[in-house]
Symmetry: C2
Subunit: 340 residues, 2 copies
Amino acid sequence: MSDKVTIYDIAKTLNITAATVSRALNNNPKISEATRLLVLETAAKMNYKQNKLAQSLRSGKSHNVGVIVPRIDSNFFASVIRGIEEELRPVGYHVIITQTNEDEVRQSENITALLNAQVDGILMSISNVSEANDHVINNVVKQNVPLIFFDRKKEMPGVSSVTINDFEAGYLATKNLIEQGCKRIAHLTGDLSLEIFINRKKGYQKALLDNDLVFNEDYVLQTKSSVDAGRQAVQRLLGLNTPPDGIFSSSDFAALGAIQELRERGIKIPKDVCVFGFGNEPFTRFMELSISSVDQSPLEMGRMAAKVFLEQINNTSKVKIEKKVVLNPELQIRKSSTRI
Amino acid sequence: MSDKVTIYDIAKTLNITAATVSRALNNNPKISEATRLLVLETAAKMNYKQNKLAQSLRSGKSHNVGVIVPRIDSNFFASVIRGIEEELRPVGYHVIITQTNEDEVRQSENITALLNAQVDGILMSISNVSEANDHVINNVVKQNVPLIFFDRKKEMPGVSSVTINDFEAGYLATKNLIEQGCKRIAHLTGDLSLEIFINRKKGYQKALLDNDLVFNEDYVLQTKSSVDAGRQAVQRLLGLNTPPDGIFSSSDFAALGAIQELRERGIKIPKDVCVFGFGNEPFTRFMELSISSVDQSPLEMGRMAAKVFLEQINNTSKVKIEKKVVLNPELQIRKSSTRI
DNA sequence: TAATTTAGTGCAATCGATTACTCTTATCCT
DNA sequence: AGGATAAGAGTAATCGATTGCACTAAATTA
């Protein structure tokens, strides 16, 4: 009695065919009301559960989407996923999550595995841009599986994306530091093969330019998104002849490390050095010396990505939709960059 | 050329049958080496992708597991999920995540949807214990779908679980406060229909008892896991005739709120009041006044839950495994509870 | 009343992969 | 050389749900 009940079992019980049962369960108008009710009742009585796998095989739709992120245990990605799940669950989609750990091999494997699993779409934040990956990603497009990038994207024909305006974010954060009187602003950047970091840096540079500040290559350090990396970056910056008086970090964790290192050396924040982070991690708000940061509205980003996916799915025309949604970053200006 | 290639297509190309192709792809020894290689080569050339749905339908194994959590955008749950994914990906399982938002209706819906999707197992942290839910959860067991609780469990026959020793955690945290000289220790608890909160509270009580401190009902406040709730709790505690000199909170967020409220009122931490949190959220470590907290090793918990699931799956004997894994909590003693 | 429509079901193929069973050949042994 | 065995491949059923087409009987129309 525990073993799976199928429409055939119901059919046998009622002495009708599975076709009729299927139609009844799907409210097909060709079925008499009496039969329909009888089937529904019997199905409930027998504890019938629809086998989605069979349905998926037949329809070619798995009602699953794959999500690929570098890692899920980061506030940003977890929030994006939350947004995706909340948007897709009500319309009957399940969310499969996979992590790459920034490893391009795992990224390829994940994509392939998701395609094999017949997901109806892939939402991903790219980890790595390499030839091998390009090939696999192109496979997705070739197989007509909707692909949506969020946050970390890659310019590709036929692929939609949801990002924030990283250029603007970099520009505004830097401008904020300038307005606080910073003249020598350093920038902790990330993996420059990724558009987000390129754009944040460009915004930073443009803000300097617009305010007649010189751009100094020595002030730009490639830094991992970790507290330690932030500390090390500051160590290097303090070794320069003219150390910076402002830091725009493209990672909150690096910003935190920077702050810790600066304070340990007796440098006052924001008096001597102002710091601006990126990502609006929860701790930036919680610190006694709260850290200014750029909010990327991850929840909204996830929701948007899901919506774009649904649009693609429901797009009946032959013309492929290629939508580029750009969300506005929001500055959270806090103590670490507020001198007045 | 973009459309799905099946084994029938390969078969037609090579003028053999699909059965042979299938055997060749599965390294069935009954196939000649020559044919095998030919098939493999052709499959690669035609960009063949195995349709897991079809395979799943036939085998009755979806190679998907469902994970149900209250919400994914919490460091704890995200880390658990990370652990689950890392353990299951290498063995070919996909992880479907769903959230309940602590809503019992959504919880039931999610369970049902996952069962319909034919998941091979469900790993969940229970949100709510009610009659309706009991019924649905029992369904899982009845259908012989391995069910593993993590963190928030419910005692049920035939169901495995991975938790930390919450009693011990509550005991040790409270003991730490006592050792720091606290005599009047308050406890911010959670939803007392959940075992975790009951056990933490019991540990707290036992520690008081063992150290000849009186248990005062007024010192126990049911508090949501949020900064605001923590603040409110402190407001109420300070209204008592003899306010506490120590707080053991079963939530880091509430602990943070408590600290903020106390400090705003000029109460010194840890001098006047010591505070101990629960969960080891990242910010507890990052604060200048770092917050003592109980670490639940979420990554390990996720890994363990996944391992227990795999054991169940691979258990060929008819005897059901019912495994209760209890991890040891680890105190992270920090400034908020260190007077010396 | 005869012809035609319609409501309600059944039949059987399909989605793609797997596998127990059957059937050819080729090889082996005495 | 004749029969036994094995190697390699084909046939067809199966997993569960869906759906175009066919069919029957009742209802409608002329």
